[in-house]
């Protein structure tokens, strides 16, 4: 396993993310239909399709440039709550990695934390409010722990994805306090938050791009 990840990884991540979002388009729509307005899969798929086009048209030169590209594309194509939140997340990650050509585990952990902080800054959600933060915060914690223990970037991303997946599952019994599902009160109980699912899918794609299987 390599000690750093490069632009090729970043581009591969985004391609895999686009693929898995497209594959899960209807599943995300269905989750959002039950406790939201049924557009999350459509929104994310529209956004990541545009990311693919952009990647072909203007191949990024650094991982940071790739993150900035996806940030601007999601911001302008996704709409709804998820668009600005994911947009801010990738924009902050881009700032965190700067112009670096190679990202080591510490930088990756810092980038994930910056992304999460960006979502919190915009959406003001904390853990337990049944949003994508319930996937992001455990992922950030797992990434920090992995970086501290000297894990490779690939192992770090795998740990983050696994934590995000568990975090997403943990939204099932919750009442939502933020976003559209919050209007439902107790009727949201028993349903998974769609944004936490898309977050986990995207983080899993990052690990896969780094060479870690599902």
């Amino acid at each position: 396993m390599k000690p750093t990840l490069d632009t090729a990884w970043a581009v591969q991540w985004l391609r895999l993310a686009a693929k898995v979002i497209a594959e899960n388009r209807m599943a995300l729509i269905e989750l959002d239909r039950v406790i939201g307005d049924g557009d999350h899969g459509e929104n994310m798929d529209r956004g990541f399709s545009a990311v693919l086009t952009k990647l072909d048209a203007e191949p990024p030169a650094t991982p940071g440039a790739a993150f900035k590209l996806v940030a601007m594309t999601l911001m302008s194509k996704v709409g709804g709550a998820a668009g600005p939140l994911y947009g801010t997340a990738f924009l902050r990650a881009a700032s965190a990695v700067g112009d670096a050509a190679e990202l080591d585990s510490n930088t990756l952990a810092a980038a994930l934390a910056a992304a999460r902080d960006g979502v919190v800054a915009r959406g003001k959600a904390s853990v337990g409010e049944k949003t994508m933060i319930d996937a992001w915060t455990p992922a950030v914690d797992a990434a920090s722990a992995a970086a501290a223990s000297g894990a490779t970037p690939a192992a770090l991303l795998a740990a983050a994805a696994t934590a995000a997946e568990a975090g997403s599952v943990s939204t099932d019994p919750l009442i939502a306090r933020k976003g559209r599902a919050s209007y439902l009160g107790e009727r949201a109980i028993g349903h998974r938050d769609p944004g936490s699912v898309s977050s986990a899918l995207i983080l899993r794609a990052a690990a896969q791009a780094a060479g870690e299987g599902a």
Partner: protein, 333 residues
């Protein structure tokens, strides 16, 4: 799902294109990014007024672009807030130097996207004020939710703030009257059936043949609770109670009564609701001074309605009565 569409992916673009052709005297449609402006925007010296949000609520917002109401509207994808890359050029197109008011319905997505757009427009030298509409009393405890949603009250905010902008009020003045309308309007809705978003292809929630959903919003999201079907008078009473207890108007006050159709309800039923609502308000000692009945902010083909009550003052009445000339609301010219 049966719909008069060609492809779920092109619904909004094709619909707005047709809208632009049918109302070429009122509006101009800009594509890529998609937004709609008054044909004569920007109007020298006038504060610009824009709004936007997910599509599927027609005639909101593009139907209210025109003299005395909006300078621009930004239709997002179906039920999905538009993005800053469309809101920014719409803001710039509406700006004649006097600044622009954003009328934003309170949903996380709308708030975040308009917030970003406002920041970026400010960075380009446009003064922006935001009026956040949150009139839906169905959302009970705003401490534990994303807060009250913006629903039918939006139409009233757009009309009255639009008239203020047209008479020459300055940026803060237009925003202040919009805010005052929002502070004095409360709404609540009911669904008899759900609606089907084209890209989802199945109804947004399930209702049994004898169930209705009380406290719905305008996105096909479920409401406060399901109850067994009741007659129109009982439903009307149920919708008005939380409105009146929250707005708490004093006897003798004047109100505007707005019965809005969700898109799939015959006008005849809206008038049956209006009839009883007017009775209830009059029994509460209120004076129904102005009325609006029809499909003004919809949720696709949903069956159901919302009731809104706006507490009026002399200035609001004057601005309500002021001439308006848009595809969907027109009087006095």
């Amino acid at each position: 799902m049966k719909k008069l569409i060609n492809d779920p992916k092109t619904v909004v673009d094709e619909s707005v294109e047709g809208f632009g052709q049918a109302h070429a005297g009122h509006v101009r449609v800009h594509t890529d990014p998609l937004f709609v402006t008054r044909k004569d925007a920007p109007r020298a010296g006038k504060v610009g007024l824009i709004s936007g949000g997910g599509s599927g609520h027609e005639p909101l917002h593009a139907g209210y672009v025109g003299y005395g109401m909006l300078d621009a509207a930004v239709p997002g994808p179906m039920f999905t807030s538009p993005t800053p890359d469309a809101i920014i050029p719409a803001t710039i197109a509406a700006n004649a130097g006097a600044g622009v008011v954003h009328i934003v319905k309170n949903y996380t997505g709308d708030v975040l996207n308009f917030e970003t757009a406002a920041e970026m427009a400010e960075a380009e030298g446009v003064s922006v004020r935001t009026v956040l509409v949150n009139d839906d009393v169905a959302v009970e405890d705003s401490l534990y939710t994303a807060g009250r949603r913006g629903v039918a009250g939006t139409v009233l905010v757009e009309k009255i703030a639009g008239a203020a902008a047209e008479r020459g009020d300055d940026l803060d003045g237009v925003a202040a009257i919009g805010q005052r309308v929002n502070d004095n309007v409360r709404s609540m809705g009911v669904a008899l059936s759900a609606c089907t978003v084209p890209h989802a292809g199945v109804p947004s929630f399930e209702l049994a043949e004898d169930e209705i959903e009380i406290g719905i919003g305008i996105h096909g999201e479920p409401g406060r609770h399901k109850i067994p079907m009741e007659n129109a008078d009982a439903i009307t009473q149920r919708l008005l109670e939380p409105i009146l207890s929250d707005l708490a108007p004093a006897a003798g006050e004047r109100v505007l009564l707005f019965v809005n159709g969700m898109g799939g309800t015959p006008a005849s039923e809206l008038y049956i609701v209006y009839r009883h609502a007017a009775k209830v308000l009059e029994a509460a000692g209120l004076i129904v001074e102005r009325s609006l009945v029809g499909n003004y902010i919809t949720a696709l083909e949903m069956q159901g309605c919302s009731i809104s009550v706006l507490r009026l003052d002399d200035e609001m009445i004057e601005l309500w009565d002021a001439p308006v000339n848009t595809p969907a609301l027109r009087w006095g010219m």
